[in-house]
């Protein structure tokens, strides 16, 4: 077997640069190789991936990359503007906040928490929503009705109230915030997954899978789910931003991240009071959030373009 596999692999690698040869008798590129080849030509994907990589590096190595201690208060240097505006200071490139803490350092450290919460909460929401959506759409009947009832409940209860109650009961920490936000943001995933599954389960390839003896679980996960990736990706990119802002609301109410920890959402919330005279306090974390969401969007679109092929040969 090894030999065939290797031969296969070799053939596909060999033909990467010589597409004309693969027309002759090769197997064509393996799906992963073909996707990688397309990825290399996809600028949006590369840019999105690059930005996310840089952000991740900053978040991971924040203690070493940040110029100052993000918690160190210097009340004599409060509300220092960024370096390019009048009164700016090269020592504090992006200025300081209302307690005189270095804004750049807080942004870099904030990336840790904001990215964790954004990606974490959006993923948890995705797992809950997609699972329920697949179950409801695939099985239908009373299961579908039960899930729909759950959605109605979720939509009827004000989510902020629910989050507050949960945080009060469980306690305050980053993990709790991630779970609580994730557990209240799954309705979009569910609605989209359910309707797409309803459509897909009628298609003949599902019937074919049935006829070859696939279990229901195999059909849902191996046949239906791969066809939902695009839709899920779109919602995911939206939900990341929603989750980060939701954390800001919670932090603003004193229910989110315990106080001195920096997060972009919290920084926006704190800056709001001074928005008229020190607008950079809101604009800078806002830009960071914007870039993060754009990068995730670019990545999501790129992954879709690269994995889907619409060219006939």
């Amino acid at each position: 077997m090894m030999t065939t596999r290797q031969a296969l692999g070799d053939a596909s690698i060999a033909s990467v640069d010589t597409p004309s040869e693969l027309e002759e008798g090769g197997l064509g590129l393996s799906p992963t190789m073909a996707a990688l080849k397309r990825a290399r030509k996809h600028h949006g994907l590369k840019i999105g991936f690059g930005i996310l990589l840089v952000m991740a590096v900053f978040a991971l190595f924040a203690p070493w990359l940040a110029p100052h201690d993000p918690y160190l208060q210097n009340l004599s240097l409060r509300m220092l503007p960024p370096v390019w505006t009048e009164g700016g200071n090269w020592e504090y490139l992006l200025g300081t906040d209302h307690l005189g803490r270095d804004y750049l350092s807080r942004l870099i450290h904030g990336a840790r928490i904001s990215m964790t919460i954004g990606l974490g909460a959006a993923s948890i929401g995705a797992v809950i929503g997609v699972t329920l959506g697949l179950i409801a759409g695939y099985f239908g009947g009373w299961i579908d009705q039960a899930v729909n009832f759950l959605v109605t409940c979720q939509l009827a209860v004000p989510s902020l109230l629910l989050i507050m109650a949960l945080v009060f009961v469980i306690g305050q920490s980053v993990t709790v915030v991630i779970f609580v936000i994730g557990a209240t943001h799954w309705v979009f995933y569910l609605v989209v997954t359910r309707s797409a599954t309803l459509r897909l389960r009628e298609l003949d390839f599902v019937a074919a899978a049935n006829a070859m003896g696939c279990s229901k679980f195999q059909i849902a996960v191996r046949e239906v789910l791969p066809n939902l990736v695009n839709q899920i990706m779109v919602i995911f990119t939206l939900e990341v931003a929603v989750a980060i802002l939701n954390e800001a609301t919670l932090s603003f109410l004193g229910l989110g991240i315990p106080s001195p920890l920096p997060s972009w959402g919290l920084m926006i919330a704190e800056g709001k009071t001074a928005m008229f005279f020190q607008p950079w306090l809101v604009i800078l974390p806002g830009i960071a959030l914007f870039i993060l969401v754009i990068a995730i969007n670019l990545l999501g679109d790129g992954v879709r373009d690269v994995t889907v092929t619409n060219r006939r040969n």
Partner: protein
Amino acid sequence: MTTASILDIQDLSVEIPTDSATLKAVRGISLDLKRGETLGIVGESGSGKSMTALAIMNLLPPSARRAAACINFDGSDLTHSGERELATKVRGQRIGMIFQEPMTSLNPVYSIGRQLTETMTLHRNVSGAEAEQRAIQLLEKVGLPDPASRLKQYPHELSGGQRQRVMIAMALMNEPELLIADEPTTALDVTIQAQILYLLQDLQKELGMSMILITHDLGVVSRSADKIAVMYAGDIVETGTAEEVLRNPQHPYTQGLLECVPGYRGNDAHRLGSIPGIVPSMTGTIRGCAFASRCPRAVDACKTDLPPRKQLGPGRTYVCHDPDATRNQATFGAEEAANEVAVELPKTPGDTVLTVDSVSCTFSVRRGLFGKRKSLKALDTVNLDIRKGEVLALVGESGCGKTTLSRTIMGLQQPDTGSVSLGQHEISTLPAGQRARMIQPIFQDPYSSLNPRKTIGDIIGRPLVVNRIGSKSEQLAKVHKMMEHVGLPRRVFNSYPDQLSGGQRQRAAIGRALIMDPEIVICDEPTSALDVSVQAQILNLLLDLRDELDLTYLFVTHDLSVVQHMADRVAVMYLGEIVECGDRSQVLSNPKHPYTSALLDSALSISPDLSVPAPGLSGEFPNPMNRPSGCPFHPRCPVAEQQCREEVPKPEIIDTTFVKCWKARTFSHQAKHQ
């Protein structure tokens, strides 16, 4: 009849710019249509026939570019008319159009009446009442019962055939001089198709219209058209009267197409001809003849020089080098095989491998959460057995329960009563994996039967993975071998389904069905979504594989020419019951049930000297929710009597043929035609 041209097109081309290249959909064609004539435009999908129709009306997609020396419609050149003039004076007024999809070409939120009268009141100075009067007249003419009350109905209340009738009535509201019908019957059942074509033919005579009939079905065109234009790769390759083109085709492509039609070479031909290769890319300029790469007669000149248009007589042309060197060369492989196989003896019936024992299946349908439950009898005591090595065709119109029966046979649907047994085993008690190894399906639409997110290699090998058959290397070897068997090139192993042509996809679906070496394959209309040349390839492949792998087929289809070609035995279904079942030769040449006989009449073989037969069946396929009393066929039956209305017919066997009809012993198919 005057001989003036109503439509004269010179040098029409359509180009559609895409991201990567410009698609030349129509390449400088010329057409001429006389008043009162019917022109059939024939060709496979992608040949540019629909684009031609849209270009005449200037209804092309916004990005498309149209160029023409002239499009003369009744003396005025449409290329010079503005959009406003076209919209108010020509489209829907003097040129009517019928589209293929009756399900989507009516607006679901407006009533039939409003949609019908709108076309008339919009541009003509007529009152609403007058328009309504005309609408009622026309609905009556197109054969809709109770036309006055239809005006208030909405499209969803009508069946497909009824909607197509409404579409025709709508196109005729303003008495157009030219009617363009783009695949008007492709989505319909054969009996409805015959009714619609008959209706069109009748109306055309009555109103003196000219008609352009666009279709891929050579049978349809042979019966309805006076003249035929054969299109290939955006060009018209052959023109002439229907008789000339179909009886004495000159262009190798026309010959090839005809060889592909089951039944064209007589009913005993075992192998259909096939056109190798695929339609060339429509982008860029084609050097030489577009058909050269697929043509068995091609010589070097065909690949480099543009073929000349040869004139044989008035209106009789073809575009081909027609090389002398290969003049008598056997074409597309149909004839020789036919002679060779003619000696094959009819197969002796094998053992029964699958028995369907009085299976009934009832669904209960409920409208809304609190609606009343209604029962729908999909299958009514069906008995059937399939014998080793045979091809059993299951024939019937849509909604007759064919699909439910095939699902029940596959064990995907539990019957309410009765049982399906496979050899010694009852199918519902078999574990899924074991069942899957014995019985596999091939579906109608190769576009939905393959998961778009999986590669072809994955798809074909998936049954092995699911059922854990063999090691990884054995599985891979099997997949490669299977791809070779079904004629897929090795390079598509890692391709996704949307990178393949329709025929290739169906080959992949066949590969997936056969990889576990099943005994029985259920083919659910495996070729009805494919072009005729591809259909021929797939039918040939299925027959070859049966001989090679010793398979048994249950062939579900509505196409009687395919049945004639493929089947050993035939079972005819109507409203969930098998009404006739027996040997192919018996059932098709001497049908005992009036329904079978009507189906046979509706099947349009290629015979240019015949016209569309008057429909033998009255009315439409009934709604299975309110089954007629007695014999379910009696409301449409030409020979029904009192007994048929009251008593359900008893099954009986008349010289080896199973039949369920009170009149079976006295009914004669031949007598009906004398």
